[in-house]
Amino acid sequence: MKHRKILLIPIYIVLILVAIIYIFPFIYSFLGSLMSYQEIMSYPPKFLPSSPSFSTYRTIFELEFAHTKLFPRWILNSVVISLSVTALNMFFASLAGYAFAKINFKGKNVVFLLFLSTLMIPGFTLLPTQYLIMQKLGWIDTYFALIIPSMCTVFSIFLMRQFYQAIPNDLMDAAKIDGCSPFGVYRRVALPLSKPALSALAIYTFMGSWNGFQAPLFFMHRIEMYTLPLGMSFFKTQQYVFYNQVLAGSIFTILPTLVVFLIFQKYFVKGIAFTGMKF
């Protein structure tokens, strides 16, 4: 037993070293956001702020453009868009996922293949035409452009379908025999069971939407309609911006997803298990 413990020591050392490499950039950039501009650009690099202050955060929250405080506005945009996308996905994906897993309707397999085939289509192929559609609909620079196309993604539907498929049919059959309608079976039997899958789905969707970049880049042109990541990338290109402000903004973009992840991480691993390696 002792022998085995000694063997584990090098493994711990490697794992801890790697963990430091993975976490350090976040801690360091947080520390950087508390430094002054001079400190942040100094060489050799400083690791601890000499007089830590949150003044950089205050500065970026006060930045104005055309009487709008940009940063709070970007946060609002990101929050509204990602929460709507998340809620809509939970609703529609659980319905459709259930239909594909447990309801025997005509042409189900063909339609499901049709759905799956879109997983092969990379997002960028659609963007040029989606742009034209948004223009026609007058949705450029509106929340619709980012919410509607991703309100029920195939990935979400697939995740829910995999989950519902694992529920034994006996449960459904019992409810049917007791006189439940197909909708009743979903509402009373399947839905109450799907909390873990819905949680995993919610977290994935929220993060994907919050971190999304290409779609906002294509569809949001007015600066006050930017999402947080788009705003940050724009922020960087402005010559007069100081780097401690960019760091503070990045920390702010990272924080919500990080917190959600740390709280709900067990669902993450579950999500991987649901969609599974069943390729």
């Binding site: 584990l8 879109t118 289509i121 659609l126 971190n211």
Partner: protein, 290 residues
């Protein structure tokens, strides 16, 4: 109403909205992008003449497109194996019955869940000429380049960062795969006198094949579409040495408003991704029996 009819109705009702969204925002655009690619289609202006394969022909002769394509493949060929090996290595170590497995899993996963734009911004700071990375290198008496402004080092800088970002995600996938291998197999092999090394090669590797297939296919598809990091960190510069395909595509739309040409690039890349994925599925067989 009969239960069967009810069931049909219910099924269609449940999938109606997703189906409509899919038709309008996926299938229609997919076909339409192909249609646009056969036209000269400026974003402003109303002349949109049909030009047949001209966009594709021009693309074929476009030097910058070839550079972008070469960079994209270089990026994929380096990132995919490195991150897969790293992920497997970390997963095998973390699966050795150590304490604090959750802590390690969490810390490796963190870069994969946060905004790629924010990470890129942070790394611009690290990669500065007199930034943190070069400071580290100076301990080994290496005079680091000005990474992101150097034609030779801009792409490697992004590659390194992305291996760091994504390996944690795949490590968790591998860990799940490892934990699904029945322990009896290892015990039986041990009794038969198999060394740790041959247990790894004869048991772990073959049984992880479905996981590997999943990881490699997903990450190749992802890598061929690399965009956010390149756009934020270098905008594909120093032009055109570090541009990638999608970056070039976006650039054609935003700088020149050439929607037809943009669409042609999109379709060529789509076909490439499709072919590469099919080839992989053929070569790494997913099914394992035991």
């Amino acid at each position: 109403m009969k239960f069967k009819t009810q069931e049909n109705l219910c099924g269609y009702l449940f999938i109606a909205v997703p189906l409509a969204i899919l038709l309008v925002f996926s299938f229609f655009p997919m076909a339409c992008t192909l249609f646009i690619s056969f036209h000269k289609w400026p974003m402003l202006g109303f002349e949109r003449p049909f030009i047949g394969l001209e966009n594709f022909y021009r693309l074929f002769k476009d030097d910058v497109f070839w550079i972008a394509l070469k960079n994209t493949f270089l990026y994929t060929i380096i990132v995919v194996p490195s991150q897969t090996f790293l992920a497997l290595f970390l997963a095998v170590l973390a699966n050795k019955g150590i304490r604090g497995q959750t802590f390690f899993k969490t810390s490796y996963y963190v870069p994969a869940v946060v905004s790629s734009v924010a990470i890129s911004l942070v790394f611009i700071w690290f990669y500065r000429g007199d930034g943190f990375i070069n400071y580290l290198l100076s301990f080994f008496a290496i005079d680091g380049p000005n990474w992101l402004n150097d034609p030779t080092f801009a792409l490697p800088a992004i590659i390194l960062m992305n291996i760091w970002t994504t390996s944690g995600y795949f490590m968790i996938a591998y860990l799940a795969g490892l934990q699904s291998i029945p322990a009896q197999l290892y015990e039986a092999a041990k009794i038969d006198g198999a060394s740790a090394w041959s247990r790894f090669w004869r048991i772990t590797c073959p049984l992880l094949r479905p996981t590997t297939l999943f990881i490699v296919i997903l990450s190749v598809i992802g890598c061929l579409q690399v965009f956010d990091q390149v756009y934020v960190m270098t905008s594909g510069g120093p032009y055109p040495y570090a541009t990638t395909t999608i970056n070039y595509l976006i650039w054609q739309k935003f700088s020149f408003g050439r929607l037809g040409y943009t669409a042609a690039i999109a379709w060529v890349l789509f076909v490439i991704i499709l072919v590469v994925t099919l080839i992989q599925k053929k070569f790494i067989k997913g099914e394992v029996e035991y």
